[in-house]
């Protein structure tokens, strides 16, 4: 994490300590009257800024759950009361030494919104807001990008993928640092407090974990997802206007100071990232295109429902994809040499290899070792790998510093997440069985997500992830409706076995199925299956 990221975190923490309800004051009656006349509390922009959505009875309820987010006692359910309380708090006197606690400093996005409509400047105090000033200077946003971190079943926590935001900083004059080092990655995550898998699942599904917005340097996020977790990143630059980008950053400041209960299947990382975008750009409607169950991939597809919203797409291959891509470019003799180099970095290269070929092989060998290091960062074998890698880098530098590294691997456009099929599936079928000698009709419903025979675009080629896959069967001759099978959960990860990769393939599932053997005539069985990992190339 960079120094400015740490400084920003510290400022946020200190400002949270200072937060307290602002002293009550009475807004100018004219201001309140104007807000009422303009029906600001009912405006889409205000409702989104406060994250109001229609509740069970159709009345607005804010999805934000932290009490500190509301200035009116009834603010969670009453947009108008919250707006008027906000105006009152904005007019409250500033307590010297506690400027950061003033509503003007705590809710800069609300101030931005109200000022645009009620022209408040000149009628408000002007607290210095030291913490907010540091935040604004550190963030200095120029653009906003949604980042999709691909799912990779060998890391089950990433089974559905993840979306987060890259806030691109304005590059200071003369700064030549890579933009990844300057930018911030912001995500909404569950603040978990248990390692018990059952409790974890229960609390995650029922919203018992508080969800919080957190930021890191973008470089850290790349290392976390792209290197350690072997997940490709897809970046979607959003065509937001400069005021929308600014409002987004100010709104993040408001959200950093509170929490929103985290629901894994519905109000999750992807949902609230889109909600924050909608709050900053009310002209954009994203959440309405989502199903009740929200998966990260769905939110990427939602971006494409707004024409022109996605300005540019970039693919950032994980370390694993980079090494696979580079190795795939090599011929058999070169692969043999790369394999030898990974075991013995001092191995001599045959003289009939050209300089370009040698550099290419050394680069590939370094990537192979990088991928091994990322896979087991704390393994005891790592000292040897680090030494071997250093040797290879030195040999490469001695050979030629003028030759550029191999060109980046091209983006697998057919695997872009927006090209994938939707998450839920229904199936209609008809067939014939030898068991009763007659026909049947089937109906199936699957909550999520993908099996090996589903349309392959936008999905990992060799993994299967299914939840609640249910099949009903109507037997025409017997006139009987039966539950034919139900898969509660299934995870299947197939890994290629090559000279450079030895990851095991595995599958686990919990299911119920109607058996058709002599061990029990057409009975239902419920089971758990956990195949032992295979050491053979499969599928």
């Amino acid at each position: 994490m960079t120094v400015h990221a740490l400084a920003l975190r510290l400022i946020l923490a200190l400002s949270l300590l200072c937060f307290s309800a602002g002293a009550a004051a009475s807004a100018e009656p004219r201001m309140i009257a104007d807000a009422r006349a303009m029906r600001l509390a009912q405006s889409v922009a205000w409702q989104r800024l406060l994250h109001y959505r229609p509740g069970v009875w159709g009345t607005p309820v804010s999805e934000v759950d932290g009490e500190e987010f509301f200035l009116a006692p009834t603010g969670k359910h009453d947009p108008e009361a919250e707006l008027e309380a906000t105006l009152n708090a904005f007019l409250a006197p500033v307590v010297p030494g506690h400027e950061d606690a003033h509503a003007l400093c705590r809710f800069p996005a609300r101030r931005f919104f109200l000022d645009e409509r009620l022209h408040l400047e000149g009628r408000l105090h002007a607290p210095t807001c030291p913490a907010l000033a540091v935040y604004n200077a550190a963030l200095d946003p120029e653009a906003v990008t949604i980042v999709y971190s691909a799912n990779y079943l060998n890391n089950p926590a990433s089974a559905f993928g993840h979306t987060f935001v890259r806030v691109k900083r304005r590059r200071p004059a003369g700064n030549t640092e890579p933009s990844e080092r300057l930018d911030f990655g912001v995500d909404y995550i569950a603040n978990t407090d248990t390692h018990n898998p059952l409790l974890y699942a229960f609390k995650g599904l029922t919203g018992l974990f508080p969800g919080v917005f957190r930021f890191h340097s973008y470089e850290y996020k790349i290392r976390e997802y792209g290197n350690s977790e072997a997940r490709d990143l897809w970046e979607y630059d959003l065509a937001l206007t400069p005021p929308e980008v600014r409002l987004f950053a100010l709104h993040l400041w408001e959200l950093f100071a509170t929490h929103i209960d985290y629901f894994y299947l519905t109000q999750n990382c992807s949902y609230h990232v889109l909600a924050a975008i909608e709050a900053a750009a009310p002209r954009i409607d994203l959440l309405s295109s989502l199903n009740t169950v929200v998966l990260p991939k769905d939110t990427i597809k939602a971006l494409f429902t707004v024409p022109g919203l996605v300005r540019d797409i970039r693919y950032r291959p994980s370390l694993r994809s980079q090494f696979r891509g580079q190795v795939a470019r090599l011929g058999p003799r070169e692969k043999d040499m790369v394999e030898r180099l990974t075991h013995d970095p001092t191995a001599p290269m045959p003289s009939n290899f050209s300089i370009v070929e040698r550099v290419r092989m050394l680069d590939a060998a370094v990537l192979v070792l990088d991928a091994r290091l990322a896979k087991a960062p704390k393994s005891g074998k790592n000292a040897n790998i680090v030494t071997a890698r250093a040797w290879l880098v030195q040999r490469r530098d001695l050979l030629s510093q003028s030759l550029p590294p191999a060109p980046p691997i091209s983006a697998p456009l057919d695997k872009a997440p927006e090209r994938g099929h939707d998450s839920m599936r229904i199936t209609f079928g008809t067939g014939i069985t030898s068991q009763y000698g007659n026909g049947f009709a089937t109906f199936g419903y699957r909550l999520a997500l993908h099996d090996l025979a589903d349309p392959p675009d936008g999905e990992p080629e060799l993994s299967q992830l299914q939840f609640l896959d249910t099949h009903l069967r109507y037997d025409i001759g017997r006139r009987a409706l039966t539950l034919d099978s139900i898969t509660f959960a299934e995870l299947l990860a197939l890994n290629p076995l090559t000279r450079f990769e030895k990851a095991l393939s595995w599958r686990a599932r919990a299911f119920g199925v109607r058996l058709h053997d002599r061990g029990c005539a057409t009975s239902r069985s419920v089971g758990r299956s956990a195949p032992r990992p295979s050491t053979q190339p499969s599928f």
């Binding site: 008809t430 030898s434 068991q435 090996l452 061990g519 009975s523 069985s525 089971g527």
Partner: protein
């Protein structure tokens, strides 16, 4: 792959006549990407059922599924178990 599973059912004649079946055996498959966004998938498992009246069972499945668009597919599926052979035509809608 090596497949291990445990299933429970009141109607099962499982281990020692109980309602528990345990199966162990190989599980394998072949997936082929055919032209026109079509995928053929063949999977099969052979399970040894230790200490059970039925000594072994198997399950062989073949699927050929073709995408008609991003969210629509059609396919043919066949499944074979000791007491049944089934063939069905299916349509798939993703939403």
């Amino acid at each position: 792959m090596a497949d291990t599973y445990v299933v429970f059912s009141g109607a099962l004649d499982g281990i020692g006549g109980s309602l528990v079946r345990v199966g162990v055996g190989p599980y394998a498959g072949l997936r082929v990407r055919l032209p026109a966004k079509t995928i053929a998938l063949l999977t099969g498992s052979l399970s040894y059922l230790p200490a059970q009246r039925l000594r072994a069972t198997y399950d062989v499945r073949a699927v050929v599924r073709s995408s008609l668009g991003k969210d629509v597919a059609v396919g043919v599926e066949a499944a074979m178990q000791p007491s049944s052979l089934e063939v069905q035509l299916s349509s798939y809608l993703y939403f």
